[in-house]
Symmetry: C2
Subunit: 451 residues, 2 copies
């Protein structure tokens, strides 16, 4: 018997979608609401900071030529584009600096760039309340992270999860914003998942952040089609030719609904103090700690020796980055700028910094060694300088669930990201809007500040 027939039978996907369709704002925990506020604030700052990136300029040159009805705002650009095009631009600008939030709950997923870029576009049609927006955002985490858990070999297999799971997360979030029922939520997931793509092979290129934008755009389309009754399989995740089996060498479809309703996955979202992949954060913390503690002069350094989780070297192995985008995938660059500048923010990942000769010289002195016994948020660093050796151990990198950024730190990050683009006054008004997100009657009040 074929697995694609419409059926009244319960499937895992329908069970999940029934749960998502039934969820109400009052079901959100206080922690989930807090993380929704923090997530929106941090992400809009990242998007604004990314809005001037040359990658976005290239994308917009094409989209402005072909896009249509100005239905949705492109952040930081004083521009509106079509309902599928603005999410593409906003999703890509949210991720282009590798500064956006990361969920580590069994997957490594930058949920907000796909999900929020999609939701902001849909929230420019009829008025959408802050509460409905927050609920839809939380639903995106449930759909994306849960689907990811059904495919344990997905990341190792070479997929960029922000592209693949991001599409599913965005589709489900949009379906929730459109208040679709269980069947149509199931269709939205079925359509979104069958659009899901993005290869790790494109790390260090413009395509990497494009995955996030495409996920947002594809998610909007999936939900709008599902709303009209455009159908799909009832078992896109668990079916014999479904997501958990074809995007992963190991399938764990039962994970889709495991512990459903017990907690909200958005509660364990993480935010980045540094503008690069989270795998680099422990070693950056370590180098900055040594710099601050021992006042090391970079010119006197003979070696920076790192001991890190094996994933660090497999993901960020670029040794001679020539562009800012490439330098985000370079362990040696991260250590070098952390020692020279004491930071790893946007300025440390510019094209100019990647080409800087002092940085390049110090990069060549960095030795990194993989250690299976370390956690992903853990690192050791030793710096040999002026005849002395300085050592440090970071147990939990900043920005992780065990060492989260404070509200004040997220506020400061937001203002630093947003103010140069939209001005200090608008940035503060945007922050105030988000602090009272759940009582806002109309999300367009925020969008207009970000234009």
């Amino acid at each position: 018997m074929d697995q694609n027939l419409e059926t009244d039978a319960e499937t895992l996907t329908k069970t999940l979608c029934g749960h998502l369709a039934a969820a109400r704002f009052r079901d959100l925990s206080a922690a989930a609401r807090r993380e929704a506020r923090r997530g929106v604030l941090d992400w809009i700052g990242c998007a604004l900071a990314g809005s001037g990136h040359k990658t976005i300029g290239t994308l917009l040159a094409v989209l402005q030529e072909i896009s249509g009805k100005p239905q949705a705002t492109v952040f930081g650009r004083g521009l509106k584009l079509g309902l599928l095009d603005a999410p593409l631009a906003n999703g890509q600008m949210g991720h282009v600096l590798d500064y956006d939030d990361t969920h580590m709950g069994g997957v490594v997923l930058h949920t907000s760039s796909p999900v929020l870029a999609a939701l902001f576009a849909l929230a420019e049609r009829p008025a959408v309340s802050g509460a409905d927006f927050m609920l839809a955002y939380a639903i995106g985490f449930e759909a994306g992270v849960r689907t990811g858990r059904t495919a344990p070999g997905h990341h190792k297999g070479g997929w960029h999860l922000t592209g693949t799971l991001g599409t599913i997360a965005a589709g489900a979030a949009c379906a929730k914003l459109l208040k679709l029922d269980r069947q149509r939520m199931t269709y939205a997931m079925g359509i979104a998942a069958t659009e899901a793509a993005g290869m790790q092979q494109n790390r260090g290129t413009m395509c990497k952040s494009f995955h996030a934008g495409k996920a947002a755009s594809n998610g909007v389309l999936a939900a709008l089609l599902a709303e009209r009754g455009f159908d799909s399989t009832q078992e896109i995740v668990e079916g014999q030719r479904g997501f958990s089996r074809i995007y992963s060498d190991v399938a764990a479809p039962e994970q889709l609904t495991a512990g459903l309703g017990e907690t909200w996955l958005i509660e364990s979202n993480g935010h980045k103090p540094y503008a690069c992949g989270v795998v680099l954060h422990p070693l950056i913390d370590a180098v900055i700690a040594l710099r601050n503690h021992a006042a090391i002069d970079p010119a006197t350094v003979s070696e920076i020796s790192l001991r890190v989780h094996p994933l660090v070297l497999s993901i960020t192995g670029v040794v001679e980055p020539s562009t800012g985008l490439q330098s985000k995938f370079s362990t040696v660059h991260a250590a070098a700028v952390a020692l020279i500048d004491g930071d790893a923010g946007i300025a440390q990942y510019s094209d100019a910094k990647a080409a800087d000769s002092t940085v390049a010289a110090l990069r060549r002195k960095v030795k990194a060694q993989a250690d299976d016994s370390l956690r992903r948020d853990e690192a050791y660093a030793t710096i040999s300088a002026g005849g002395k050796r300085h050592e440090v151990h970071i147990a939990h990198a900043s920005g992780t669930a065990d060492n989260p950024m404070s509200d004040a730190a997220i506020d400061a990050k937001f203002l630093a990201n947003a103010a140069p683009v939209i001005g200090r006054d608008r940035a503060e008004r945007a922050r105030d809007f988000v602090q009272a997100l759940e009582t806002q009657p109309d999300m367009r009040g925020l969008t207009v500040l970000l234009a």
Copy 2:
């Protein structure tokens, strides 16, 4: 060392793209030109025949609401949509009846729905000659089929190749129409491939033909971005996290360039006499042959026994289809309608026919058995009726490379598909246009006939 850095080094993908970028119309063989003409004619007929399908109506309801500048024609609908939206609609209508061409050269790929839907949209901007159009079309086969051959486990792995490889084929074809150089052709493939999606889990649903439309739309976007210098990896096919490795459990990257320039893959394209997957064609040929030879009354049949390639049962295993789309994935439906109607055209795959009680009764008398020793284009059928047994063997199904449709049959199929939608006169003018395709100065002369 990371594999994503820009490099002057030759890669397999760059070698292929250099070849594709350098190809000229005069390099096309006479057979390739003939197949390009046949392919365009057959496909525009399939698209017109599909243009009134309810799936297309649902899709267009969404696209009309959100699409923008009317830059590209939607066939058979008297409608223009945006440059990414019209290809989505036209690609889906080309594939929705499962009546479009099939390439069996190591892959099972419906090349024309993604590629031609994309090319027709781009050919509405500046004038594009028929010769340039044919060359770009042929390039689509090279990119799509060759990439497919690098991923031998791709189809078995659960992917819908018309979605995945179709995106790559469309991206390369569009890049050729835009006359991109080797580097930008490489980017176009890198962007297109990283958008490539479509799961077999969605067979029998509206998503299946959506894959073809999405492939067309994604291909256009990839080429337009690449034209502006939007970059990607240089090794999207052969890289360690590239297409051949992550979309397939077995990788054969060297197939990307094997025999490059020796022949044109478009030469071995196949066209369908029946409106369903090619795997069903041998058994339909068999049942129709018995019906014609023995004048069997379906009411007297006690059993229809089939011996078929194993793929038939794994792909088309639906036993009780309830919609026209589902019935295209039903071996038992194919045999039943072939005996009752002596055909397997559009009418035999309608919702009404799927629900017809006479058809349903006969479907229950069909027994199909897999036989590893058969080729994919081969079948045996035995019909027991009125106390007699009738047997037949089909060595090569009609519409395959070994038993191709004649030009006259393709002409007749086109007129039958097109005339009910655009009228006999326009259909004949379209056919005449395509017969002289390589001397046409402006493809818009054809597009206007198909509106």
